[in-house]
């Protein structure tokens, strides 16, 4: 019953999306004044129906309803409830349903909360959001039905991949998708504004909070995903340049550029066409990412060609929506009026450089991600593009970008004096020089990129705090604090990345219980190896004691687990966080002579990477609150004046 109810809700939501598009189109062409409230209500009901369908699937997973094919393939009655719950989206159909649900909820939220946008543009925006929805509802209903029944029902489910049986699964995909799909709002706003030829500061002010919201969730999702991969995979790495990771990084790069250009449009009425273009590009990157992850093309171009239904479907949607939006852009961009001008040395100038560099990095990541696919599809030759490519190509640009980030906020809008800007940068430059001197003396042998990273981090940390210098902090707007915190977060994260790659210490040994091995400042004693059992796994657990001078010794427990549904082995790394870094221990295989392989890492200040990510998101959150608050106040004052 629940499965049928969910499926019915999905069909109904799809029909409402079609109605929303139709009414929106009618409202725009016929000019019915009362159309907006109707379109708003439809968008809301459509969102509620999608949420209802998603809740139905969650209930099926929690109840382990084995008459539903998707539950059989991914659920198991032995699983802890959290993984039954989160397992709902740990598979293709479930995650696509979550995707579509968030798309509908994003549309519903715009319908409910957006009060600033011009009425006609809002109708066009909601119609565009419905148009995206129709395609993805169709994909779900015709190519990825999550509610399909299985007859006869088997006695037990096949279980969830143990690597996914982690609290990270409950947190990472939803936040990432909220950001990913939340960018659809920016896309629909852009399409709406192109349809009504209404690109200006008011439009930018209305769009900004939505872009900020999606960007915050995307930042949290990427940061959480990086930490999850770091502790769960047991490889000690925090970013692998895997195509799936790149699929989330590309929308983030575009959204970051959009966030900055929309500020130019809102504050100075500049970069009109460019901002609209970026809004289209940002969500296009989300759809490209969805295509890469969901079509199976990454496993193999060959496998994709064998079962092309899903991949072709998403590819067709991709071409339809991106092509449609770009065609509309091409047709209408000539009618978008020139924005106001500015000098090269100005806040706008710095933001243009920011946008160019972000776009260039985005291009590099996109090329590196698609290149192997294109080569394999055309010549059949297999190659892979990994960290060496991305680090050499994107690394230098990213460092320049960060350096510009320190200077940008210290510049005035419209035009500024280069000499004065240089003077304002004296302290950051001094700090960077000090860092350079300290590194040359204390650590002469570290690599170029980490060295530059550490020097820049020192300078940029000072530079990002500089906008608060000599200001009355009580009267400084909240969104300025948001910018400061977010930019400081970039410096903190960069410091963590550079420090980890410059100063990491690794010890790889085969050890018997009782032996002591050194890693970084720690002496680690391998105490015992014992069997342990969990709810759906058994494991061997190694206990180790790490001592450092006369500090309190740390106890570490690392496991090699065997799950039985499905049968899989995983490593659970032992990680201990101390103020100046992390100790990371993985238990390997036993040898015939009673020795166990142990891999020990000392990673100085590695936690700064994710702390920085959290600060970036928090800075975004402060900006969001600050902006919404100020817009509200402005609107209230305007109302009082007219009253």
């Amino acid at each position: 019953m629940i499965a049928e109810a969910g499926l019915a809700a999905l069909w109904l939501a799809a029909a409402l999306a079609a109605l929303q598009l139709l009414l929106g189109g009618l409202g725009l062409t016929r000019g019915h004044a009362d159309m907006l409230s109707g379109v708003r209500r439809i968008a809301l009901v459509q969102a509620l129906l999608a949420v209802f369908a998603f809740v139905c699937l969650i209930v099926l997973f929690l109840q382990v309803d084995l008459s539903v094919a998707l539950v059989v393939a991914n659920d198991h009655s032995d699983k802890p409830w959290l993984y039954k719950f989160a397992g709902t989206w740990g598979n293709h159909e479930g995650s696509m349903l979550m995707w579509v649900t968030i798309l509908a909820v994003a549309g519903g939220a715009v319908a409910l909360f957006e009060r600033q946008l011009a009425e006609r543009t809002l109708i066009a925006t909601l119609a565009a959001q419905a148009a995206i929805g129709i395609g993805f509802y169709a994909f779900l209903l015709f190519a990825s039905n999550p509610f399909a029944r299985l007859n006869p029902a088997p006695a037990e489910g096949q279980g969830l991949n143990p690597l996914l049986q982690d609290p990270g699964l409950a947190f990472h995909p939803p936040t990432l998708y909220l950001g990913y799909v939340g960018l659809s709002i920016a896309f629909s706003f852009a399409v709406g504004a192109l349809v009504t030829r209404d690109v200006g500061p008011a439009f930018a002010r209305a769009m900004r909070p939505w872009v900020l919201g999606a960007w915050i969730m995307l930042t949290i999702g990427i940061t959480a995903g990086s930490y999850w991969a770091y502790y769960e995979l047991g490889w000690g790495g925090w970013w692998f340049w895997d195509p799936v990771e790149n699929a989330s990084l590309m929308p983030w790069l575009a959204a970051t550029a959009l966030l900055h250009s929309v500020t130019v449009l809102a504050t100075r009425d500049g970069l009109r066409a460019w901002t609209v273009m970026l809004a289209v590009v940002a969500f296009s990157m989300s759809m490209v990412g969805t295509f890469l992850v969901r079509s199976g093309i990454l496993t193999s171009v060959h496998a994709f060609a064998v079962d092309p239904r899903r991949g072709t479907f998403i590819l067709a949607l991709l071409i339809l929506y991106i092509g449609g939006a770009l065609a509309l852009f091409g047709l209408r961009v000539g009618t978008v009026k020139e924005g106001s001008r500015f000098e090269p040395v100005s806040r706008e100038g710095a933001l243009v450089v920011n946008n160019l560099l972000l776009s260039a990095v985005l291009g590099i990541v996109l090329v590196g991600t698609l290149y192997p696919l294109a080569i394999e599809a055309t010549t059949g030759e297999k190659l892979s593009v990994g960290a060496p490519y991305f680090n050499t190509a994107a690394g230098p640009l990213a460092l320049i970008l960060v350096a510009v980030m320190a200077a940008g906020p210290l510049m005035r809008w419209r035009h500024d004096n280069l000499k004065v800007v240089v003077r304002r940068l004296a302290l950051p430059v001094l700090l960077a020089a000090l860092a350079l001197a300290a590194l040359t003396v204390l650590a002469p042998r570290i690599g170029l990129l980490p060295r530059l990273g550490l020097i820049l981090a020192a300078g940029v940390a000072a530079g990002s705090l500089a906008p608060l210098w000599k200001r009355n902090l009580r009267r400084t707007p909240l969104f300025t604090f948001g910018m400061v915190v977010a930019h400081l977060g970039v410096a903190v994260s960069l410091a963590g990345m550079a420090s980890e790659s410059a100063f990491i210490k690794e010890t790889l040994v085969a050890a018997r219980p009782g032996e002591v091995h050194d890693v970084g400042p720690y002496a680690v004693r391998f105490d015992t190896v014992e069997p342990v059992a969990g709810p759906n796994w058994t494991a061997v657990e190694a206990t180790l004691t790490a001592t450092r001078g006369d500090r309190t010794p740390l106890t570490l427990r690392t496991q090699a687990r065997s799950y039985w549904a499905p049968v899989t082995e995983t490593n659970e790394a032992a990680i201990k966080t101390v103020p100046d870094g992390q100790l990371y221990v993985v238990l390997g295989n036993p040898g015939e002579d009673g020795r166990w392989q142990l891999r020990l890492w000392w990673k100085p200040f590695v936690t700064l990477i994710w702390l920085g990510g959290a600060m970036i998101a928090f800075g975004g959150f402060l900006s969001l609150i600050g902006r919404v608050w100020r817009e509200r106040r402005t609107a209230r004052r305007a109302a009082e004046v007219y009253a």
């Binding site: 991949n161 143990p162 690597l163 496993t299 193999s300 060959h302 496998a303 020139e338 001008r341 500015f342 000098e343 090269p344 243009v352 160019l356 560099l357 776009s359 260039a360 990095v361 291009g363 590099i364 090329v367 590196g368 290149y371 192997p372 030759e381 297999k382 190659l383 892979s384 593009v385 990994g386 060496p388 490519y389 050499t392 190509a393 230098p396 640009l397 790889l508 040994v509 085969a510 050890a511 090699a560 499905p566 049968v567 899989t568 082995e569 995983t570 490593n571 993985v586 390997g588 295989n589 040898g591 002579d593 020795r595 392989q597 891999r599």
Partner: protein
Amino acid sequence: MKAKHQRLVLVLLALAALIGAALLAMSALRDQAAYFYTPGDVVKDALPVGRAVRLGGMVKAHSIVRDPDGVTIRFVVTDYKDEVPVRFRGIVPDLFKEDSGVIAEGRFEADGTFVADNILAKHDERYMPPQVAGAMHKSGSAEE
């Protein structure tokens, strides 16, 4: 500066940046894209000594040997026709077993040994690397 000029300068700047990025990407791709080798390719082609490449195939039965240091292993990658000796220092992934697929990242030494920096494994026992499946298919031994 006139408005038209400014727009032109912006567009030119953007073009220069994008072309620069594209050139950077192309040169990096030429140097850094890791090519994929199967044991058969190694016999046919000249050895790309010292270049970052990937080697894929099956781990030959009874070929895994552990060195006395306990952390270096040696094994043979085969496509059931040709073979390549591999050396690896580290903890192998859980799915690394004899008679199953493997992809190793690393470089060839002059004597033909492959020194792996990294052994890749997808955590799924049904998984066979697509390149391996393709290579097996070519050598005609995909099904036993």
